[in-house]
Amino acid sequence: MSEIKKHDTPMLEYLKQEAWPSFVDDIEQYGEKHKKQACFDLLGQLELSYKHKETHWKHGGIVGVFGYGGGVIGRYSDQQEKFPAIWAFHTVRVNQPASKFYHTAALRKLCEMWDNRGSGMTNMHGSTGDIILLGTTTEQLEPIFFDLTHQMKMDLGGSGSNLRTPACCVGKARCEWSCIDTQELCYDLTMTYQDELHRPAFPYKFKFKISGCPNDCVAAIARADFSIIGTWIDDIRIDQEAVKAYVGGELKPNAGAHSDRDWGPFDIQKEVIDLCPTQCMYWDGEKLHINNKECNRCMHCINVMPEALRPGTDTGATILMGAKAPILEGAQLSTVMVPFIRLEPPYDELKEIVENVWMFWMEEGKNRERLGELMQRVGLANFVETVKLKHIPQMVREPRSNPYVFWKEEEVPGGWKRDIKEFRKRHPA
């Protein structure tokens, strides 16, 4: 095996000095162990980028696997003579299993394949959720795809103007608060919309993210064009004895999460009741009362006293749309479109909403316009009507606060016209 060539990287050396783990160490160790020149060329190019304060990657290209419009992102170095081993250094996105549960054997197989066919470097996981395999050449792409699909039963994920790989929280697999089976839904959406995942259909990216409860561990409300967040419509379940145990100091608040420091005795009034955003709770010294109609599902009381309070049992999800974290106009959170929907397989009602939204976005969306931007451009009232949803009082925070839903003439008895003579009889000028 030929000798590997190391580059002089004084600025990267600096990153190895502190106590925390350094990616520089990791890449060097791996490169030395496996004699991978790509690892050292990668570090060499990074040092050069630090020096020049600009990237030396050329982004994009026609690379991909046959029939797929996403899953592979072309990367080329513009310093090919200095760093020949990373001349082509494509990224492969692999669809992660729902909630990212793996068998160790699957991970071993995947890593062995990547040691042989790629740089050996991975990113577990990218912010979309996929397994990211970093750095390979064009001629390895089809063999990688073959190995993934035939040996590991894995598939490429989404990239480009496609549906991106749907992502979900751990859901009912590990979390008692999950109001919906997030994994089942994530898998179902992934399988139903295979064509949209692999073959470019949209003006830009589109993301589904599914959280089991309003704690929203996958940050669906901040990151997904279509956020599905589990919720309940009945009452929060209360175990009054457990509430007393929290008040009496027998149970640790937040399941002991803040016990590394002495915060003093638990004060239910200060730490729960006064922090309720809708002030719908009351503690009379013996019993906890909740006015459930006012609850806005912030989850704070449930998080603080998990043994005493639990979400209700009549469960479903809230559908929100339009989140994005773009460069130009700043981040935007999703907006509630459907306050409550029951989610049971085969999720026909949900899919009908999804497809209506896609239809409208594909017709009206501009190139590189996210759904949230389209919603802003056409106005929420128009958007709601076009995707065949209904305007509902919950979309308005309070009267006159965000009055984006206006009456139309045909909805008002008598329309806008009035008899001015009749009016003046009652109201003299």
Binding site: G70, V72, I73, T137, G160, N162, P200, A201, M362, K366
Partner: protein
């Protein structure tokens, strides 16, 4: 309009566009063929890729379409 007709219109549009642009968005095709449904145009464009008459160009965040051989910067086409 059937899918074969749409495919033909896409190819005509691409050849016309190729004089000034090497790659176009799906949206540009949809604008150029207003009589066909967007979903049908997407299906036709993807079939043309399978037939080798069009190619995908992906930046990672966006996908565009080009005629084979139209691309690209020197150094990206061959390895």
């Amino acid at each position: 309009m059937d899918i074969e007709e749409v495919k033909q219109k896409i190819l005509e549009f691409m050849e016309k566009k190729a004089k000034s642009k090497s790659k176009v968005y799906l949206k540009d095709m949809q604008r150029a063929i207003p009589d066909a449904k967007p979903m049908l145009i997407k299906k036709a464009a993807n079939e043309l890729v399978k037939e080798g008459k069009l190619e995908y160009f992906s930046t990672g965040s966006t996908v565009m379409y080009s005629l084979p051989g139209q691309d690209l910067e020197k150094g990206m086409t061959q390895e």
